[in-house]
């Protein structure tokens, strides 16, 4: 199979081109002076400067970051606890609980977003940043549980017992042995939660009242009105932030701490 592997490799590279070229094109056009995307290319930072003056976008950006940070804290805490329970104990209903992690991921976010809209209306939670936060944490939880769970699976259990035989109290064992070994997984899960929340569009779209939005919702509205390079600029920033967070996740998850 001599040609086979070569063809496959070429195909893989083409796929990567397919995945990245549009993003690169979009990013590059954000640095182009022409407001109509006309070539030839003329480097200019005018659109980024315009962003700085766009109060609505900046507000939306602050909302997005704020929600993402709170979401990360909550989802990481809750998700890590649940992952610990799955790894440390064997109990009836464990499989069911693990299966229940699928709906948030598998059901179209359209359905989840609209049902949250309906439910929150009935229990009198107004649309707004709090409602959006509720939704984001729900979506982040399965990812945190899976990432931390994967890390826990490779955790050498006996080291905690060894620490106890060496005289460490449960708190000392946690502080000096368990936590350092868990840290890469938890950080990976946290970064994932941040990315999920920061990028989340559909849920935010339905739960955002007029006047208060997150960055993706704001961008969507701008796109509906018409394409402008300002959108390119803010989109590029978003992509850089979320890809950056995910690159860090990868580093912590695969290479950080002990493999």
């Amino acid at each position: 199979m001599k040609i086979g592997p070569a063809l496959l490799t070429v195909h893989l590279w083409l796929v990567l081109v397919f995945l990245y070229v549009p993003i690169l094109v979009m990013a590059v056009l954000g640095f182009n002076a022409s407001p109509l995307y006309a070539l030839p290319f003329q480097f200019d930072l005018v659109w980024y400067k315009a962003l700085a003056g766009n109060a609505k976008l900046i507000d939306a950006g602050i909302n997005s970051i704020g929600i993402a940070i709170v979401n990360t804290a909550i989802a990481t805490a809750l998700g890590t606890m649940a992952a610990l329970a799955f790894a440390r104990y064997k109990f009836r209903g464990q499989t069911i609980l693990q299966l229940l992690l699928f709906p948030p991921v598998a059901i179209p976010w359209l359905v989840i977003g609209t049902s949250m809209l309906v439910f929150f209306f009935w229990i009198d939670i107004k649309r707004g940043l709090f409602a959006i936060l509720l939704g984001h944490v729900a979506l982040s939880l399965p990812y945190v549980i899976v990432v931390v769970g994967a890390r826990l699976a490779t955790f050498p259990r006996a080291v905690e017992e060894a620490a106890a035989t060496l005289g460490a109290t449960p708190w000392q064992t946690f502080r000096r042995v368990t936590a350092p070994l868990l840290a890469p997984g938890v950080i990976g899960g946290a970064l994932f939660a941040f990315a999920v929340s920061f990028d989340q569009f559909v849920i935010s779209y339905f739960l955002a009242p007029p006047g208060i939005t997150t960055l993706p919702v704001e961008i969507y509205g701008a796109i509906r009105k018409g394409f402008t390079p300002e959108i390119n600029a803010i989109s590029t920033i978003i992509i850089v932030v979320s890809m950056g967070a995910l690159l860090l996740t990868a580093r912590f998850y695969r290479f950080g701490g002990e493999r």
């Binding site: 050498p156 006996a158 080291v159 017992e161 060894a162 620490a163 106890a164 035989t165 060496l166 005289g167 460490a168 109290t169 449960p170 000392q172 064992t173 000096r176 042995v177 350092p180 070994l181 701490g257 002990e258």
Partner: protein, 355 residues
């Protein structure tokens, strides 16, 4: 140097009794082996002494004091785990220092004692390495140094040599005994490898289904097993069934063997007509080509010959049973399969066992 005792220990998991009434005293400074098949309760007992398992009934005493309510970290024990359980995120030196640091020992004292411990296991110079950079044998020495540096009352070993290859294993066995004698610490270890138990221990106990079947010095347990299980578990044994034909004045008894012929041996009890089971070790049987069958001598036919370097194993059919015989290879050559042979033994090598 401490004593450890377990009295009437019972531990049940659901309907299964992992420990079914175990009583044992471990003497100061001795190297004690817990031996038995998997699930027999030996590991459960070890972990009960450590404090990871809480007994349903019975007590664990260290130096005469009941430690049943004492948590693991306060029992002052040292433990070595099957896969060493070294802290992967710490260096060798940090691993060894851990027990001293959590006790709050001053930094200089810790550094000195770590150095001494690593020297004792002959690993000086590797302080800064990480566990994954070490070989299996080296990791094990680190685990040993780590367990001993705190000068615990008792050392517990959970199948410590299981993960090593044969050569390394033998090397470590020697090391382990050397260090244990040097330090003088009471050591209890668990193994399913009977050869290891025999070589390392001052005393051993054989476990079966949560109970201790027999305990004592290795040689005593080997030569004088009490039950069929004990005889079969430690090495190989031939089992001869028969009924007591007559009792003789000097304490000997004449037994009519089921496979034919007679045996004569010392029997502690046994009325005439009673069925007895006798164990005979393969290395105690003599192989001869001529001779007549008689008391403690039977004729049979060689089925199989396996040459193993310093000894040869023969499988011989005697009557309707197959007997196993080991013979040291002194320049005698081997007897060919199919030969008609005489197997004989002396009466003191027959041991009565309960079935």
């Amino acid at each position: 140097m401490s004593t450890v005792a377990v009295t009437d220990a019972v531990k049940k998991y659901g309907a299964v009794a992992a420990l079914d009434g175990v009583t044992m005293t471990f003497r100061e400074g001795e190297f004690f082996g817990l031996l038995g098949p998997s699930g027999s309760g030996k590991t459960t007992l070890l972990r009960a002494i450590a404090g990871f398992v809480s007994l349903d009934r019975g007590q664990v005493l260290i130096d005469g004091k009941d430690v049943s309510g004492v948590p693991v970290h306060a029992r002052d024990i040292g433990m070595m785990f099957q896969n060493y359980a070294l802290f992967p995120h710490m260096s060798v030196a940090e691993n060894v220092a851990f027990g001293l640091e959590v006790r709050g020992r001053p930094r200089e004292e810790v550094a000195d004692r770590v150095k001494a411990a690593l020297a004792m296991v002959r690993l000086g110079g590797l302080e800064q390495r990480r566990p994954k950079q070490l070989s299996g044998g080296q990791q094990q020495r680190v685990a040993l140094a780590r367990a001993l540096v705190t000068r615990p009352k008792v050392l517990l070993l959970d199948e410590p040599l299981g993960a090593l290859d044969k050569h390394l294993r033998q090397e470590m066995q020697v090391e382990l005994r050397r260090i244990q004698r040097q330090v003088g610490i009471t050591t209890i270890f668990v193994t399913h490898d009977q050869e290891e138990a025999l070589t390392l221990s001052d005393r051993i106990a054989i476990f079966d289904s949560g109970r201790i079947i027999q305990e004592g010095a290795p040689m005593a347990v080997y030569e004088r097993p009490v039950t069929k299980f004990a005889a079969g578990f430690l090495g190989e044994a031939n089992f001869l069934q028969g009924s007591v034909a007559a009792r003789e004045p000097n304490g000997l008894a004449r037994i009519a063997l089921q496979i034919g012929g007679d045996a004569s041996c010392r029997l502690s009890d046994g009325q005439v007509g009673q069925t007895v089971l006798l164990a005979l070790r393969p290395e105690k049987i003599t192989l001869g080509e001529g001779g007549h069958a008689g008391v403690n001598a039977l004729r049979g036919k060689v089925l199989d010959v396996v040459f193993s370097g310093n000894s040869t194993t023969y499988r011989i059919s005697v009557g309707d049973q197959v007997m196993i015989l080991f013979r040291q290879n002194l320049a005698q050559g081997t007897v060919a399969p199919g030969s008609d042979v005489l197997v004989s033994w002396s009466p003191e090598h027959l041991v009565q066992v309960t079935p």
